[in-house]
């Protein structure tokens, strides 16, 4: 029994050490998206892990779809299943912080099956932090400046119209 367990353990360790497996073994992952797109040859068709905010749109097209994630250094497309995309509730824009996701998947620098697109095909997609609304409280100083400028413009316009009348233009 002891020998059987040792052999089983060795087999499991060897399998998980194999490159490119879908069991989450990540080889030589880039520090960020910018590093990934700056050295596409190095990471091409390797399993990598990236984190970032979902931005813009969740583009579902049938049973699969696209999101784009931004980690502050750059943005990259992620191709995922509809089931994975349905986990995402928020995509970032001016008034929304998008969900922060961890994506583990295969990076392609120019996938011929996707028209040469550069993207990550997600094996695993996990929401690590849910997004939500971003508050933009009104800056009262801007309101005050606007009021002053409107008054000044009205006064100047009156002066201009008066001058044109005097000059009979």
């Amino acid at each position: 029994m002891k020998h059987f367990l040792v052999i089983l353990t060795m087999l499991v360790v060897q399998i998980t050490l194999l490159p490119g497996t879908a069991f989450g073994t990540v080889s030589d992952t880039p520090a960020n998206i910018n590093e990934l797109v700056s050295d596409t040859v190095k990471y091409d068709q390797h399993v990598i892990k990236i984190s970032g905010e979902v931005i813009g749109d969740k583009m579902v097209r049938g049973e699969t779809g696209w999101i784009n994630i931004n980690d502050g250094t750059n943005t990259i497309g992620v191709f995922a299943t509809k089931k994975q995309l349905n986990l995402i509730n928020f995509a970032g824009d001016y008034s929304t912080k998008g969900d922060t996701v961890n994506v583990e998947g295969i990076f392609y620098k120019a996938d011929p099956k996707m028209g040469g697109d550069i993207y990550i095909k997600a094996n695993r997609l996990v929401i690590v932090k849910e997004g939500g609304e971003i508050e933009h409280p009104l800056n009262r100083a801007k309101f005050l400046y606007a009021a002053i400028l409107v008054i000044l413009n009205i006064l100047l316009t009156i002066c201009y119209i008066s001058k044109r009348r005097i000059l009979k233009i």
């Binding site: 797109v37 700056s38 050295d39 596409t40 040859v41 905010e53 931005i55 813009g56 749109d57 969740k58 583009m59 579902v60 097209r61 779809g65 696209w66 784009n68 931004n70 750059n74 943005t75 990259i76 497309g77 191709f79 970032g92 824009d93 001016y94 008034s95 620098k109 120019a110 996938d111 011929p112 099956k113 996707m114 028209g115 040469g116 697109d117 550069i118 993207y119 971003i134 933009h136 009104l138 800056n139 801007k142 309101f143 400046y145 606007a146 002053i148 400028l149 409107v150 000044l152 413009n153 100047l156 316009t157 002066c159 201009y160 001058k163 044109r164 000059l167 233009i169």
Partner: protein, 498 residues
Amino acid sequence: MKYSANLLNMAHYLGKIILLFSALMLIPLITSVFFLEWNTVFDFLNSMGILGIVGTILLLYSPQSIGQLSWKLGMVIVALSWLTAMMLGALPYYFSGFWLSYLDCTFDVMSGLTTTGLSLVQDMEHIPYGINMWRFILTWLGGQGMIVLALVFLMRGLPGAFRIYVGEGKDERLLPNVTHTAKAIWYISVVYMLIGTLSLGITGLLIGQGPVRAFMHGMWISMSAWSTGGFAPQVQSINYYHSLAYETVTMIFFIIGSLNFNLHWAIWTGNRKEIYKNLEAVTFFTTSTILVTVALWELSKQGVYSSTLALFRRGYYTMLSAHTTTGFMTTYAQQFITEWGPLAMVAIFLAMLFGGSASSTAGGFKAVRIGLAFKAVLHDVKQLLAPERAIVVDRFHMGKDIKVEDRFTRPALTIIFLYFILWSITSLVTSANGFSLPEAMFEAASVTGNVGLSAGVTSAALPPVVKIMYILAMYLGRLEFLSFFVLAGYILSKLRRR
């Protein structure tokens, strides 16, 4: 006194143009109201307020124009208008807080107005709809011509209007009256914009965008494509959409946008043969075919894109985007330097420098000048080979058959030479500030030709001297030098008199 009359006329037209510019800010202001972006609403209100004060003070100083404008003064007004628009148009950007400095803001305004498309904005994925609207209004305005718009609304029946019109790098006369020509240009542009918005909006819906974003992106991308501007609402440019359909529609519009307005008018009014006979259309087709073939051959040989579809979507699309000086990207900036190979890089340099058509929204040397340069060389060679007493007559077709003469070929060669000098200086300044020569030459070609593709050089971290050089290069490239030289000469002459 002539001196006072010139100054009064400058103040009068500048004042009107500034007020028109201020009125245009109503569009992004209303956009921000719709999307409840209240801080952005006040950013635009404050900007309009400042422009209103400046414009009205100038008009108070000079409430009416005096006499007829000279050619020189027309060009000075154009050159000053663009610089003023750059300085004042940057206010909403500065107030928004999405740019790191006022210099960066002016860079983006000039990039928009000149339809270059490079940007120094921070956190583009989170900028307000109103600010994005202003970016695309600037690029659409710049493509058609700010002065062209002013002629439609502010300068009806103005003696000397044509002189201002020509100062913006335009010389097409669709109709006998320049104001009617200006209206025709805007009519063509609005029609294409509406068709583009509908096409791209529907495409956006089909690829999975929500209806509001599909419509807004459709409108913005259509304005940017038609203007061959290259601004996009997301950092990844057109690659954001991951869609062949989206790329194809944008390609159609940016190719159309790079064609001469005269050609558009000829086709719209039933003269369809013009597209086959027109020197510019033929030259553009020839140079783009040669350069695209060279680039695709190299990319295929290097194995950068291993399928025909990939070559079309990345290689062909990017080469056409460069040649029409649009600047939409379906690759990352870094990939040009790390993957494209030397021959493909030479092809893309030349494509960016050659550019689109004269009197279109495109930049670069312009196809008509390339065509005329080629005709001039051919003519000289024929003359050399002909019997001594023979006179060789060559013709080219631009609306009608025209004899190849020095008065056409010489200005064309002069402008090509000036563009080349500008590109060289811009490359050297970039290289001297820490960038490799290929990167510097690529970025300089993009800036000089008002293209907008980037090898990764343009960023907020760029030294100020390079940013200023790029602003100058974009400005000179768009106005095709003459207006700026006249302005510089005018200022120098006033300084000398003192």
